[in-house]
């Protein structure tokens, strides 16, 4: 089992991730297929919400992943600032668009669920607003990465912003307990156990695992692309310097 220090070597990371990626993508595809089959053809309609409960099977995993990816980014930010792990800022940069996508899915599916159940697509309550803030933080982080050319400086600036923004994660989680919101309280991760019937809980958990594996596979692929982008940048500079030197000596490139 490779340690974090072993993975600090980008060449080793590229080799290991190339071997892992097809397995993760395959497992994600199988779990999502099983999960959606159970969610659509086995799980019953809800006695109150009817068929709109099908939206839960996408909405809830998207919400969990939006939070999980931000937490991963906060750990990577510590890796950048404290341990100076060479792949930490790569991991952080690669996770941001994926986390933003799941936040957006959470907000969109929540709006489409809210309209028939609450009578409105949107309400400025604590849970909905804090998730919107999460999406805006993700977008701010992506913008900051693009604004700074030096990846070292960008990595440190983004790491600080990520750690400051992490205060929003417990606010999202506990917003339904701390404030009187339209959004229902937690029904899976509770001290007294889940309040969802197993016929709905199992598809939800299988889909959550499938989406998690998909997100991790995408994260690995995005990290690989970022490592290659940095290598391309370095080699392009080296090539240009070599051409300059040869031109000064009057030799062909």
């Amino acid at each position: 089992m490779p340690s974090l220090t072993d993975l600090a070597n980008p060449t080793r990371f590229m080799r290991l991730s190339a071997a892992l990626l097809p397995w993760m993508a395959g497992a994600a595809t199988i779990l999502l297929a099983i999960g959606f089959y159970l969610a659509w053809f086995v799980a019953p309609a809800d006695y109150q919400q009817g068929e709109t409960i099908r939206i839960m099977f996408v909405h809830v995993p998207a919400a969990w992943l939006a939070l999980m990816l931000y937490t991963m980014m906060a750990v990577s930010a510590l890796g950048t600032l404290v341990w100076r792990h060479p792949l930490a800022d790569v991991a952080q940069k690669a996770a941001a668009p994926i986390g933003a996508a799941f936040s957006l899915i959470c907000l969109l599916t929540g709006a489409f669920w809210g309209k028939p159940m609450w009578g409105t697509y949107w309400v400025w309550d604590a849970r909905l607003t804090s998730v919107l803030v999460l999406l805006l933080i993700y977008l701010g982080i992506i913008a900051l990465w693009r604004a700074l050319d030096d990846s070292g400086r960008a990595g440190r600036a983004v790491a600080i912003l990520t750690l400051v923004g992490f205060v929003n994660v417990p606010i999202i989680k506990f917003s339904v307990d701390w404030w009187n919101t339209l959004h229902q309280p937690a029904s899976v991760f509770r001290a007294d156990g889940p309040t969802i019937h197993p016929a709905m809980l199992w598809p939800l958990l299988i889909l959550a695992l499938g989406f998690t594996l998909l997100a991790l596979a995408l994260h690995l692929a995005a990290m690989r692309a970022e490592i290659m982008r940095r290598r391309v940048r370095t080699l392009t500079i080296l090539e240009a310097e070599r051409h300059d030197r040869l031109a000064m000596q009057g030799l062909p490139a």
Binding site: V58, A101, I105, F112, L218, A225, R245
Partner: protein
């Protein structure tokens, strides 16, 4: 469609939006991965990383 009850449009819109966002994300990451791999292979084929013969 009728099996989804009176709120079918909201259910389908949810799944459609999720598929669109996730599909776009997957395509963007795979295209970026392929583009970087191609650029890196081209640079390595040109010997961009090796030292020149002058020893400079």
């Amino acid at each position: 469609m009728s099996g989804l009850g009176p709120h079918a449009a909201f259910i389908l819109a949810s799944y459609g939006a999720a598929a669109l966002v996730l599909g776009s994300l997957i395509v963007a990451i795979l295209r970026d991965h392929r583009a970087q791999a191609r650029a890196l292979a081209a640079l390595e084929q040109r010997g961009a990383g090796r030292r020149d013969r002058s020893g400079a």
